[in-house]
């Protein structure tokens, strides 16, 4: 029987659930730690535009080869692009590495902001971990402030 893999998720009461991982994109030579909101309401793992630019993703280049997508939420709709060949590397509770490959992630264009506060909040908006990764694990809420991905 395979040993259980557990990845810790920070689940502070009154806040979203967050998990950290190394975001790796081979063809762009990107590897950088990122914070992800664990979002069962999102089908795909998604990067906001600001975060993608920080990582060194050139959205203009993505547009050249784009597969056009429109995405919508409670706050409205915006355009999205697809960034292929992504790996997320998590650290399990036993300090082993857990690598998950994704054929693509969505890169979400930042929507127009109404004021400076919204712009600043968007600037530090984390990445979104979608069902394309979440469904590979069992999500278990346990002790105070923590949940776990298990497999």
């Amino acid at each position: 029987m395979t040993a259980l893999v557990r990845i810790q998720i920070l689940a502070v009461k009154g806040n979203h659930c967050f998990v950290t991982a190394l975001f790796v994109c081979d063809h762009l030579s990107i590897k950088m730690p990122q914070r992800f909101i664990v979002d069962t309401g999102s089908v795909h793992t998604t990067l906001p535009e600001t975060k993608a630019r920080e990582l060194g993703v050139n959205l203009d280049t993505l547009e050249t080869y784009k597969v056009k997508l429109k995405m919508g939420g409670i706050g409205g709709g915006t355009n999205a692009r697809m960034l292929g060949g992504v790996r997320l590397v998590f650290t399990a509770t036993d300090n082993s590495s857990v690598e998950e490959q994704l054929q693509f992630v969505h890169v979400l264009r930042d929507p127009p902001t109404r004021n400076e506060d919204e712009r600043k909040i968007l600037a530090t908006l984390p990445c979104i971990l979608g069902l394309d990764i979440i469904r590979r694990f069992t999500l278990r809420f346990e002790e105070k402030n923590f949940a776990y991905f298990e497999r």
Binding site: L10, F18, L22, D39, L83, G84, Q103, A123, T124
Partner: protein, 108 residues
């Protein structure tokens, strides 16, 4: 058959019909995992203490290092980035947040 997706060409593996990216591989070093561990500690500290930080750094960008032992703040992201580099810290390991004066609930 291939699908162009960003810079990556996804190729179909005919045996299983699955799209797989064909590309060079970035190697994950121990130092990368150490960075991730440091980033995780700082992120956890930030998220657990964000309500306390709100009183001290309202409407400021902050960067958390050493599990909260050092917090840098600035009016703008550019200023914060400059401070991080001035303190000779690795920006990839710190947790950065814009701390709103009032609690802000994100609906996604």
């Amino acid at each position: 058959m291939g699908l162009i997706c960003g810079h990556t060409v996804l190729q179909t593996d005919d045996k299983i019909g699955e799209m797989k990216p064909k590309m060079a591989t970035v190697t994950i070093e121990k130092s990368d995992l150490d960075k991730l561990a440091e980033f995780t500690k700082n992120t956890h500290w930030l998220l657990e203490h964000v309500d306390n930080l709100r009183a001290e750094y309202p409407d400021r960008y902050i960067a958390v290092f050493d599990s909260g032992k050092q917090v840098l703040d600035a009016q703008t992201m550019e200023e914060l980035t400059r401070k991080i580099l001035e303190h000779a810290r690795d920006p990839e390991t710190c947790a950065i947040e814009f701390v709103t004066r009032e609690p802000y609930l994100l609906i996604i």
